[in-house]
Point group: C2
Chain length 361, copies 2
Amino acid sequence: MAVRLKDIAHDLGLSVVTISKVLRDHPDIGEQTRKRVLKRMKELNYQPNFAARSLITGQTWTIGLVVPDLLHPFFAQIAKAISMEVRKKGYSLFISSSDEDPALEQEEIAQLLARRVDVLLIASAQWAAESFRRIEEQKIPYILLDRQFSELESNFVGVDDRAVGVLATSHLIEQGCRRIAHIRGPEISTAIGRLTGYRQALAAAQMTSLPGHVVSIGTSGDHRGERGGYEATLKLLANKSCPDGIFCFNDPVALGTMRAILDAGLRIPEDVAVVGCGNLSYSDFLRVPLSSVDQDSMTIGKVAASLALRLAHNKTPRRPKSDLIPPRMIVRASSLRRPATVPAEAPPQLPPSRDGRTVRR
Amino acid sequence: MAVRLKDIAHDLGLSVVTISKVLRDHPDIGEQTRKRVLKRMKELNYQPNFAARSLITGQTWTIGLVVPDLLHPFFAQIAKAISMEVRKKGYSLFISSSDEDPALEQEEIAQLLARRVDVLLIASAQWAAESFRRIEEQKIPYILLDRQFSELESNFVGVDDRAVGVLATSHLIEQGCRRIAHIRGPEISTAIGRLTGYRQALAAAQMTSLPGHVVSIGTSGDHRGERGGYEATLKLLANKSCPDGIFCFNDPVALGTMRAILDAGLRIPEDVAVVGCGNLSYSDFLRVPLSSVDQDSMTIGKVAASLALRLAHNKTPRRPKSDLIPPRMIVRASSLRRPATVPAEAPPQLPPSRDGRTVRR
DNA sequence: TTGAAAGCGCTACCAA
DNA sequence: TTGGTAGCGCTTTCAA
């Protein structure tokens, strides 16, 4: 059915080996022959058989990506960026969604390992690093994305979550908030990092988290977080010392938070300022445009892709590399309590970005 | 390095063929032998080599998916659904994003064909059906998603776009709009179908589209459509007969439209009602919650996946199958001008869906 | 510069 | 019920 090296060899009265060498740009081929072969390849629209090639070389020119939820814009952007980067180098990308289910994630990883992907990229939904030992046994290089495990020394690419927490919290402090609460995520590295940053920023301003001002969205229910954010906020608002600023684990949570605040008859940001994380699309179009820490998922994807390509080629295992992408604070109405003009003692005014938002690195 | 059939055969004093048969549940194997082999396979964590298998069978147990933009929730949802469905049957999914670029899409398709995927799924960014002839030459079954080509008889799974137009427009009519405009998309099947539905719904109500009441977002610029929607709406509002209802090609366009309306000092829906298409997440949290026609992308993905699996197995080419998924109208504030209670002559009240929205099939 | 031989890990076919 | 043989399409090695 499909055209094979053998067919071309036969047509041209050459051997299969010669054709194979032309295909791979082997140096010791006569200029004449090379041209004839290339011409015939084009005529027949020859496509090398990846399976046959892989069988010998052991390389599949294939990369695997497992994310918790492809529907989440953060992971979708990462997936897109990786796909487009590796494509340029002739790699194809298997993408699969674990649906935040550790067991499903394990199956996916096993499947991709069985397929002998050259590299595996994982934004894990695991609670423990246990399952990565398996990958190490197989000697297939892998990269963790977004979420890491302290007990595991592996390649990692993700945002600097501590910086996320610092950025959001110190912004709220600058905006005059004095009772800043945090709605934290589950027990994974991202949530822990953001919480740490939140605490550090408060400490740096000689402030502290009031009792009951750190609440969790919990792990059950809709992982999109809107409901979790809503309920967590109700708790915060019922607190003796009602917060005047809330840093939310992510944007969906922040949406729930904003709704709860508005439902309670309070104003955003005058009564309570809100900052999210993720800078999801359409933040500009919300009832109150949402301030958010941008995680620059495009860059995460690109950096991950280039590391993956390096790992795919260097058969010698290099020592694990950790890449932390710096986040950016995107200020919108939900947290803007101070006029944009500069008080005498304040830092210089931030230049507006081209789409009219204020950006701070 | 990796465990091979040969290793197991050697360990157990059997032949490679026997092990291979156990692996594939071949009937003529003794119960004793089968158990011994399976046990040893488990012990060694044997993983069959896909490349070797493909080389002989011609099947790769691999499916390819090309979408215009993985970041768009519509395509992300489809990709996720397909990935999860085919996974259950042991298939892995190559996903790539063409970035709405026909040339890039062609490259991606070529790449996936070279990899001998068993089926190819494409939500195309092409203007012409030309490039699909190539796929047909290779005899690899393929399915078009979302966008189809009239000159091409192929498998298709997507929403019924004419129904989308009818649903949105007749909803606006029911809400009392009398000057209904349409912001249409580019010259692809989805936009054409929605436009047709819009015209049909108007005609069915003895209405017609006023001059200048169908405008296009154009093809250039940001394909996300917010800017396009904004500018198209400015044109509409400047029209002698300012519309009192606008059906937008999709939700991003509708966001731009809503902003333009609010910027002009008009009210939504009292002055102008707006309906989008796509029912993107967070529609509930917008400044004015957006009514939208839901395309049920999850179902599109599932249906496409099951068709793909059938095509992957039936080596006999069946005649192309077209699956049209019915859309649903999701009514929110942006188009709700009539009280929810039933006027005497109106159709019976719609039951609220579980999340409090009004759903009509 | 070219090519013959060997073999990657597996399955198909047929003989034992 | 089991297994020998022959290859799938390609690359690797080494000899011509």
